[in-house]
Structure formats: structure tokens, C-alpha cells
Symmetry: C2
Subunit: 471 residues, 2 copies
């Protein structure tokens, strides 16, 4: 199982004591060591046990981040970047103690270039703050993982969400970034040009590295024009297979769908009860189209025809904002709606992603597993990308139930990897999925380890995450 593979990161008590003293003196009230704040900074919104850091520092500039990292480096003490703590996989835990570096005071929007469709922000800016700031420019930042995460955190975990099928993930939307490396040096990974062939792609190396290779101190992000018109709706299908075939046909025909979300029967039941949606309890696709008035109408008509060919429908679509918002609000409340299926239970979200040709098969096998194991676990998926989540509702205080869910998760992750997919489409590895890295990457893990050692030889940047330690 996942967690057993992580060897403990040992505590360096002497170093930690020295760092605490130095940072207290240097940062005053901007360095905190109270239990509550430390625990809050290791909070992971998952079942993974909290491992608090020894202190929390609130730098305000890249130079202050350099100071913190240099202090930690001098004493070989871990330093763990923190956004707002919406990670689902224990990314901000401190298994060897050390310092949580909270980026919330680095929340300036440094520049917006409407002409270049880009902006530069500090890592503590959240995506909603950025979009509020952009409101009058006609532009927006599309990546929407659901939670109002920081952009630094989203880059660090290579986040995406419902509209990645059209706009890409953080991988495609970070143009360049600045980061403090383990030795305290500040690097810039690229320029603002839209493309470059100049050397190794350090931007993409840091994006998704979960704070283990460098601490992001600013990001230059791609922006997109707010679409002139939006249409969308919900389309029921008799089977998962039919819904998946409609997704494949839609993508293949080049319909530039902005969102295409698969919701299984159990999740539809939860949504109906919670959000009073009037749809059958059968698999449904929630879709949205962006473009000109004419284009969104054409896209919706094309999709409707594809749905019908695959036995689905009726597809009732609208370009009225109010009705559309109601649908997507319901979709985004899937988590809360799911909890009503088993009051008192907590949810564990899985995150596999497979080639879309395997999506129906993977979801069907997973549903069968859920039924066989007696779990309550509704499914929603970013179907256009082959990514889906099961929310396993469980009593976290019952070790047998936790063990059962862990077994289910392991089987699901292994199934996805066997289908040429990944154990995580967008949540990241953190601590929770370290145990699947070898199955997914084979010798690639050794390459990653060599890179980690080359850039962080003392393993001070977020140790115990992503990489399984050597035996």
C-alpha cells in the first residue's frame, strides 16, 4: 500500500533548534511556532495523518524566501512551501519537521500584459483573486481545480480541472517562473516569449515538482480571452459506455468543447437530492462550449447529434447564464452532495487518468469493484481528458474500513497504470501515492532521483514527497 513505502525522514533536532532561533530573530511575528498554526499548516484535507512542521514563516519577497532557504540549508533542515492547504495527498506534511514556508503574504499581481495574454503573479495569489483582478480586461485564467487554491500551489502540483480539455493544465499555462533552489539561488526559468527552444525546459521541470526541487516565488501565466458566448447543458446516456463513446466522437470531430464531465448514476442521485436537478439517475455528461454566438450554437448542435447517435439525449442546451450557472454549481457541489449519501462519513478522492479509449472500461471495472467491496463511492470525471475521481465515503475511525478503502484505491491505481494511464491526473503524488511511482515510472524514478540529488543534495526541499526512498 501507498504509505508503507515512505521511509521516515529523520529529524535533525540540533539543526531545527538553530533554525528556529535564527528565524525567530529575523522574522519576529512573521515566524510562528504555536501548535494550532503548525497543525493547520500540515492539514491535508485527507485521511493522511498530520505531521506538523516546527515553525511557520511568512516571507514577503523572493529575497526573504532566499534567506529562509539559506538558513535551512546551512543546518540541513526541511523547508516546505505552503499555499492554502487544499492538497489532497499530504503534500504539506513535515515528516522530518522543519519549516513551513507560507506564501500568503506573497500575493501581489506584478504585471498584466493584455497584449501578450499573460500576467506575472506571486505564488500566494489565488485563482479567484487573479480572475477578480482581471475582470475588466476581457481576459481570464481558465484553470479551475474546484478549490480556490493558490497559483503557486497549483503550479507545484500541475493542477488542472474541468476545463483542461480545452485550455490545458498548469503545464501548458505557466510560461515561466522564478524559484529559489535548495542552495538559496534565485533562478528564472524562461522569458515571456510564447515558445522557446533554448535549452532544458526548467519551467516544466519545476511545475509538478511539488516543492521538492525549488520554491516558486513568481509565475508568468498565460491568459485567455473571456468567450463572447457560452452554451451548455446536461445530456443523459443509457450506459457509461455510450457516454464515453460520445466523448470520444466529440473530441475526434474537433469540437472545441470547453468542459465535458462524466457523472455516474450514483453521483447523479446525490446531485438530484442535493441540488434538486431534474435529470434521470443514469450516466450524464455535463458539457460547455465557448466561442462566438454562432459557434457555441453550432458546437451544441453537433454535440447533440453525436449524443443521439450514441443513444443519449435529449440534450437540452442553453446559452442563458442563469440556467448554466445552476448546472455547474450543482456539478461543483458534487463533493458535498456525495457526503449526503452517507451522513457522518468522510470522503477520500481518487484521481486516475487513462487514455479515453479505456475510460468506459476503467470506470465500469471500478464501479464493479465498488459494488463487490460494498463501498459507497460516486464517480465524476473530466471525461475529455480520461480523468475521473471516485469519492470513497468512509468512517475514518474504523481501521478495517480504512484498510478496505486503501485496498480499493490500490486496485484502482494499478488498474489505471495497467491501462497505460496514471495514478494521478491532477492531484499530485505527495505522500499518498508515493507507493505507485515505481509501478508507473519504472526506471524513470531513478532518473527523477538523480535530478533531485543533483539539485537538492541534502534533501531539504519538501522531503518525503514524490520519490520513494531507497531501501
Amino acid at each position: 500500500m501507498a504509505l508503507n513505502d515512505i521511509l521516515p525522514v529523520t529529524r535533525n533536532e540540533e539543526g531545527i533548534a538553530a533554525v528556529l532561533g535564527t528565524l525567530k530573530q529575523r522574522f519576529g511575528d512573521r515566524f510562528q511556532t504555536g501548535r494550532a498554526i503548525r497543525e493547520q499548516h500540515a492539514h491535508t484535507t485527507t485521511y493522511i495523518q498530520v505531521q506538523p512542521p516546527d515553525g511557520v514563516v511568512f516571507p514577503e519577497t523572493a529575497q526573504e524566501v532566499q534567506e529562509v532557504v539559506r538558513t535551512c540549508a546551512a543546518h540541513r533542515v526541511p523547508v516546505i512551501a505552503f499555499g492554502v492547504g487544499t492538497s489532497l495527498e499530504g503534500h504539506v506534511n513535515a515528516p522530518g519537521g522543519g519549516v513551513s514556508l507560507d506564501t500568503s503574504r506573497m500575493n501581489r499581481i506584478i504585471a498584466v500584459s493584455a497584449e501578450d495574454l499573460d500576467c506575472t503573479v506571486e505564488p500566494g495569489v489565488t485563482r479567484e483573486e487573479l480572475n477578480r483582478h482581471l475582470r475588466d480586461t476581457g481576459l481570464f485564467f481558465p484553470i479551475d481545480p474546484g478549490a480556490n487554491a493558490t497559483l503557486g500551489g497549483m503550479a507545484a502540483t500541475r493542477a488542472s480541472g474541468t476545463n483542461a480539455v480545452r485550455y490545458g493544465t498548469m503545464r501548458e499555462n505557466v510560461l515561466s517562473l522564478t524559484a529559489v533552489m535548495a542552495d538559496g539561488e534565485l533562478i528564472t526559468t524562461g522569458k515571456r516569449a510564447k515558445k522557446s527552444s533554448a535549452g532544458y525546459d526548467l519551467t516544466r521541470l519545476i511545475v509538478g515538482s511539488e516543492g521538492t526541487l525549488g520554491i516558486i516565488t513568481s509565475l508568468t501565466l498565460k491568459l485567455h480571452g473571456i468567450p463572447q458566448a457560452i452554451s451548455g447543458g446536461v445530456c443523459p446516456f443509457p450506459t457509461l459506455e455510450a457516454a464515453s463513446q460520445a466523448v470520444i466522437a466529440t473530441i475526434q470531430m474537433g469540437v472545441p468543447v470547453a468542459r465535458i464531465e462524466l457523472v455516474n448514476s450514483l453521483q447523479m442521485r446525490a446531485l438530484k437530492n442535493y441540488s434538486k436537478l431534474d435529470y434521470p439517475e443514469s450516466p450524464c455528461l455535463f458539457v460547455e462550449f465557448h466561442g462566438s454566438e454562432a459557434s457555441v450554437a453550432e458546437q451544441a448542435e453537433t454535440f447533440g447529434a453525436i449524443a443521439e447517435e450514441n443513444g443519449g439525449g435529449p440534450f437540452l442546451w442553453t446559452s442563458q447564464a442563469e440556467e448554466r450557472d445552476r448546472l455547474w454549481k450543482a456539478r461543483h457541489q458534487a463533493y458535498w452532495a456525495s457526503l449526503t449519501l452517507r451522513p457522518g462519513a468522510k470522503g477520500l478522492s481518487t484521481d486516475v487518468c487513462v487514455p479515453i479509449s479505456r475510460l468506459a472500461e476503467c470506470v465500469a471495472e471500478t464501479e464493479a469493484d465498488i459494488a463487490e467491496m460494498g463501498l459507497v463511492a460516486p464517480i465524476v470525471g473530466h471525461a475529455g481528458d480520461g480523468n475521473f475521481h471516485t469519492l470513497c465515503l468512509m468512517n475514518q475511525d474504523d481501521p478495517a474500513e480504512v484498510a478496505l478503502v486503501e485496498k480499493f484505491v490500490a486496485r484502482l491505481n494499478e488498474r489505471a497504470i495497467r491501462m497505460d494511464g496514471t495514478c494521478t491526473g491532477e492531484h499530485g503524488i505527495g505522500q499518498g501515492k508515493v507507493g505507485f511511482m515505481r509501478a508507473e515510472h519504472g526506471l524513470g524514478v531513478e532518473v527523477m532521483r538523480r535530478i533531485k540529488r543533483a539539485l537538492d543534495p541534502d534533501n531539504i526541499l519538501n522531503p518525503g514527497k514524490i520519490l520513494p526512498m531507497e531501501a
Copy 2:
């Protein structure tokens, strides 16, 4: 200047002799040491001096690539991957001798998944071969650098071309790859899932690494649906500034333009003479739109209105394949057309890329420089990406003229970097641009160097490329 920064990679005569013996015995006729074939494998289609390898090997499988690399590794002898030799920056030169690894016999198309819009190919497949193979599937691979390069070579240099503005570059279109690393191990960098947050992005690390970190032995590529309809045309503008503003407005309004190419007055004169195009000798945009019949008409109309607002036009567009093909054939003949401007001269192509807000300024300053220095150098650009090429026509046998062109190129590269751009949008660094890496990347170069040392400690993979050597 560029080339002065490269310290010579020293020849390991003893190792080379041993490797030649071993490879001859193992590969027989598939290992060649004749002068002509060696020189052809260091041919660079540029002014950079040919530095031939000591032998050329033609492996047929990834396992044979592993054997070659292991043989070279055992004797610390360079091994340089070779596609078809369309590099413009000396990528395939062998400054320390060693073995050219020609991938032309690794030209199988391993799999096409129409449902997943992807395919897996060996590195020696050219983009035209792939598109011929795909003809009946309704899909195509869009990246088009002009030359009929191999897909392995295109990935290694992070190539792109005219339609990157819509479809992205090799960075966005390689889903995963397999590569033989310097120790001979074969790794797979990812699965076929469309997105993943599972660990470091080894795919993007190898893409653009120019054979210095690993030798690509297969690639999984994203495919796209052949558009139902295509429209396009040529639009003249009174000034470069006006044309650039039209590009910016087009992108900002979210028009999903497939190609938008800037051609300056001198280049237009060459095209008119060479291809008998009936357009004014003023800056022009060549544009193309992909989509449904209705969508491409709407896009063309929108672009026409934008052009008019910016003082351009008339914009005569067509969705007739014949007329469109004539225009793009003319655009793609820009190189040959340019040579007629100065018969007998050879061309050196530059490749800067800047934020599009700076494009007009960068092109105008470059035109002024060309005039001031008395060069003949027409300009074409992938304007939607801020990337443009000047083709410097020169007499390569006149050292004074070569020096003048080198001075021009240095000024241009420095100008682009100063404008927050890059010295290479799509050609790569090779040997030709090593001297600009520090100016562009600063301390990032040290991070790249650490990665190189961690993955190739003996510097056997394409030594002397990308990274300036330490003093």
C-alpha cells in the same frame, strides 16, 4: 560571438579506436566509417564548420541503441543522435569525434489510436511519412517546421513552425517517449493518459534537450482531426506596426487562427518575383483558419474586420484548396525566393522570439539594423507566436562579410533577450547559440549543467551542445 564560447571537446583517441572496433564487429555493414558518409552526418545546412564523427551506426531497435550507448559509455566516447540532418545550428557536429547514431532505420509507425488521438512512432519517421500513413484516419500531425524532419529530431530540438499558434509546438504534442540514457538504461517518460501529475516531467525534460540527456527511441504524439474546412488568404498592411496590431487583436479576440505569418516588404518582393504573387510590396499577413464551414467563414470575416480597423486590407480570402495551396506554397518557398535577391549567396537564418507586444518594435529595429549594416536579409515570422526569421544572404567565403553577419546576429539575439524574448523560438541552441545561453538564462544555466552532470557524468551524449562549458 557565439562560437567562441564553446571550448573544444577533447578527443579520446584510445577510446574511439576501441569503440570503432567493437561496433564494426557487432554491426558489420550497419557501421560505416567512410569520409563522405561521416561528413554528411555532420552536415548542418549552416555556416558552421563541419566536424565529422569517426563512424556512423544504423541501429534498428531500442536494444541496439542501448548496445551502442553502452559501448560508447564504456570507453567514454561521444554518441550523437542523427535524424535527417536539417538542423540549422550544428546540432549533429562531432567536436570530439565519436559515433553518429543514425535513426533512419528506426522508422516504424508502432501504433495509431484514432480513439485517443495519438500514435507511437520510432524516431526516424519523418513528419510527412507519418501524415501519409494517417491519411485515411481523418487525423493529422500538425507540427510543420518546413523541412521534412524526423519526429525524433523535431522532439529533440522542440521544433514548431507555421501552425504552432493553434496546435502548439513539440513541447505540447509529445505525450511521452522512450529514451536510452547515458548509462544505457531505457526509460519511458510517461503513459498515454492526456495529463498526469505523477512526478517530474521527464517528457518535457528530454524534449528540447538536443540529444544531450538521452537518445529518443520512440515517441507518443498527439494527433488532431483534419479540419472539415479551411479558409485563408493574404492581407497587406501599410506598416509592420499595423500588421502586428492586427495580430495582437486577432489573438486577443480568441479567433483560433491556425496560421498567421508576417512577411516584410523585402520578402514580399522576393515572393512576387519568385512565385508571381500579385500583392503590393508592403508588409503582409498570410492567414489560415481551420474549423467547420461556418466557423472558418466567421473567422475570416472577423479577421478581415480587424485588419480594416488597423488600416490593412483588402483581405481577400478563399476556402478553395487550389488558391490556398498556391499562397502557402509561395510562403514555404520564402527561402528559395530570398536567394534570388542575391544570386550565389548562402542564407543564414536567425530565430528570435519575443512577446507579441514587442514584435513590431523588434522587427523594426532589426530592419533598421539590416539597412544600416548594408545586409540583404528578408524577414518572415510566425507572428502569432512572436517568432521571426531573418535570412541573411552572404558570401560565406568572405570572412569580413561573415563577421558582419555574426555581429548582426549577436545584436539581434541580444535585442530579443532584452525584450524578454529568446534567441531561439524553434531552431534550438546546438553549437550556434551556445554563446547566448548565459545572457538568456543566467543562473538557470548552472541548474541545466547540474542536470546534465547528474544524467551524463562523462559527457558522452552530444557533447559541446546547448551548455557553455565552464572556464
